[in-house]
């Protein structure tokens, strides 16, 4: 049981921030791992497996977050999550005008 806690900094780069769809992707990804995962914005710390909690962070474009993972697969979890942020939750690519079309 090697419970090491590791952290990685990411920036919310997609134009609409962490709205419902990106938050859903974060949770889905986080759920694949056994590690405890948390998102930290300044002094706020939320469960990375709770979409409602992530939404309450109100992480708009440009927000700096740190992702913390603790558990046996922590490193793999951070890689997968950082990749999501890096790809801007696939919003930049498939929706040049931003994530708007996804909503409603």
């Amino acid at each position: 049981m090697s419970a090491e806690k590791i952290t990685r900094m990411v920036v919310v780069a997609n134009p609409q921030g962490l709205h419902a769809r990106p938050a859903d992707m974060i949770v889905k990804t986080a759920m694949r791992f056994a590690s405890k995962i948390e998102l930290v914005k300044g002094t706020e710390r939320v469960d990375g497996k709770s979409i409602l909690a992530i939404l309450t962070l109100a992480a708009v474009a440009g927000t700096r977050l740190s992702i913390e993972a603790e558990g046996s697969d922590a490193a793999a979890a951070l890689d997968a999550l950082a990749d999501l942020f890096g790809r801007q939750f696939s919003e930049g690519a498939s929706f040049p005008e931003g994530g708007r079309r996804v909503e409603e």
């Binding site: 709770s50 409602l52 996804v102």
Partner: protein, 579 residues
């Protein structure tokens, strides 16, 4: 404790259990569960969550099929919210530890999230509150199922808190159980306001959104005098309001003793104190309060909430009942006074400025068959008692002549058909538009009586929409310009020897009674609940005293000074009525 400021539309204080209705008219109940039932209730919640998950997946698949996978993504997020472990934990804790019913736990928890989202800086994220409401609605629909309670099937006293109430909802209110009304939207002329006044229950409208702050079953206070709604009141506030309710009850009982005494000043000047009514059953209330007649019988209710336009018989029956109840006392029937927006037929929903638009008498003159139907019914009913007809919102002499011609035409028609009616039916008009006061010397030549409608007169004189919160404070009956128009109208009527009544909300406010008597007004028509108070004031003053008060008030420069002076004077005579 949280206070919501709205527009006071019907006076009084009510303390009681909230009955919260969302846009779809759902009731969100509060219910505690027994200790032994906790596991069953959790199971019920789980089943509801699973059913909702199936519904959401079905929506996702349908949308994805029709519009593409990206569009179904929002439902993915909804599913994720529904299964959120933190949410689940909170719900379980509420049910297990606080013994809340699942419905209440769901509503409470999700509304808290919705509220958080609404306060977020990003408007885009704030929109997510709607997703939360959507999930809440689905869960409640599943949990409540057939047990969804309807407004018309109340079994215990409640205060109704709703986004808005439709005419059909208000028409079906159970008067035994509805103790007060609050709506998020609406203004002073809204349907809720009129109905609340008719039911004599406190009401506040236009409070702005509160759906995230209150759940069914919570204790709420409605202060219909101040236009306040208090959610989650603290003990001290509850005690203070309970005391007020007791005092009012005692005052009402004391004033009730005046019922059979005449409305007459201390020096013997008789005052005609009439009641304003909306619904036929209120005629009895007027009699119970000692009204000398009906000074304003609104007829809009016949058109509201009805599936079809009322026919002549509908009109006739509604009038005949009231006339018979009043047994020879005067009954003033006002013809339809409504905006085009509320009418079933000929509605024009894109009026840019409805208060200056096709409403009231203008609407009647555009819908002649409908107008004739109403006039025929009034004329036929006129033989049953002392009936008078009154036309609202006259603004030009031409309009008045048009309606009088039409009335004569309908009379001829009835005569041809051998239908009995009173040829000498008294014809009056409302004074609500400043143009009429400017030419009042001409109008008094053409009618048998005048009735001053202060609500519209104030709005048109001061150019203020009182349902607009930003300017509502400019709306006041105490403005010297308004008072001077009233004075001119009273003087013109007296010179011509015709009756003049005042039937706006102003006449039901104790603050203005002495002033109005001092200006020479001898007829007032008020909401039935205000009759005892106004009678009490009449019986406590002399005309000379009132003239002195009026003289001083008319010399003051602004509404604030006038109102505080009038309140001072009232306090000297009847401190318990000076609110």
């Amino acid at each position: 404790m949280q206070k919501l400021q709205g527009i006071a539309v019907s006076p009084g204080v009510a303390i009681g259990e909230a009955f919260v209705m969302d846009n779809e008219g759902f009731r969100i109940p509060r219910r505690f569960v027994d200790r032994d039932a906790v596991d069953d209730e959790l199971e019920r919640l789980n089943r509801a969550i699973e059913s909702v998950a199936v519904e959401i997946k079905r929506n996702r698949d349908a949308v994805s099929r029709e519009l593409g996978k990206e569009y179904g993504a929002i439902f993915e997020a909804h599913l994720q919210m529904l299964h959120d472990p933190r949410l689940r934990g909170e719900l379980e804790q509420m049910i297990r530890e606080r013994h809340y019913a699942p419905e209440y736990a769901v509503s409470r928890t999700l509304r808290r999230y919705a509220k958080v989202f609404q306060t977020l800086d990003s408007s885009y994220l704030a929109e997510r509150a709607n997703d939360i409401f959507d999930i809440e609605k689905r869960l409640l629909r599943n949990l409540l199922g057939r047990r969804r309670e309807e407004l018309s099937r109340l079994t215990s006293p409640v205060l109704i808190l709703a986004r808005n109430l439709t005419p059909s909802e208000t028409a079906n209110l159970d008067r035994r159980f509805v103790m007060g009304l609050v709506t998020e939207v609406g203004g002073a002329g809204s349907h809720t306001a009129i109905v609340a006044e008719g039911l004599e229950i406190p009401a506040v409208v236009g409070t702005g959104p509160f759906m995230t702050d209150v759940s069914g079953g919570e204790l709420v206070i409605i202060d219909g005098d101040q236009g306040l709604v208090i959610l989650h009141p603290d003990e001290e506030t509850i005690a203070r309001y309970r005391h007020e309710v007791d005092q009012r009850r005692a005052l009402t009982a004391r004033l009730g003793a005046l019922r059979d005494l005449p409305a007459e000043t201390a020096d013997g000047q008789r005052v005609d104190l009439f009641g304003n009514i909306e619904f036929p059953h209120e005629a009895k209330l007027c009699l119970a309060r000692g009204a000398g007649g009906i000074g304003l019988y609104r007829t809009e209710f016949l058109y509201l909430g009805a599936e079809t336009e009322p026919d002549e018989e509908d009109h006739y029956q509604a009038y005949a009942g009231v006339i018979e109840t009043m047994a020879g006392r005067p009954v003033v029937i006002r013809t339809l006074d409504m905006g085009a927006d509320k009418l079933l037929v000929g509605s024009n929903d894109d009026e840019r400025n409805p208060f200056l638009g096709l409403r009231s008498i203008r609407l009647s003159l555009r819908n002649l068959p409908m107008f004739r139907t109403q006039l025929r019914a009034i004329l036929r009913a006129s033989v049953l008692g002392d009936v008078r007809v009154m036309f609202p919102l006259i603004s030009t002499m031409f309009e008045l002549r048009q309606v009088k011609m039409l009335l004569a035409d309908v009379m001829e028609d009835l005569e041809e058909h051998g239908q009995p009616f009173r040829r000498d039916l008294k014809v009056g008009m409302m004074v609500e538009v400043p143009s009429v006061v400017v030419l009042i010397d001409r109008f008094v030549e053409e009618v048998d009586f005048l009735s001053i409608g202060t609500n519209d007169l104030i709005q048109y004189t001061l150019a203020v929409d009182r349902s607009n919160k930003d300017v509502a404070s400019l709306y006041t009956a105490g403005d010297p310009a308004v008072l001077r128009l009233i004075e001119q109208t009273i003087n013109a009527a007296r010179r011509r020897g015709i009756a003049v009544n005042l039937c706006g909300q102003m006449s039901g406010s104790p603050t203005y009674t002495m002033l109005l008597l001092g200006l020479g007004l001898r007829q007032m028509s008020v909401t039935p609940s205000a009759i005892p108070e106004i009678k009490k004031i009449c019986r406590s003053v002399t005309i000379e005293q009132c003239q002195a008060v009026a003289g001083r008030a008319m010399s003051l420069e602004n509404a604030r000074d006038i109102k505080s002076y009038l309140k001072e004077e009232l306090k000297k005579i009847l401190p318990e009525l000076a609110g």
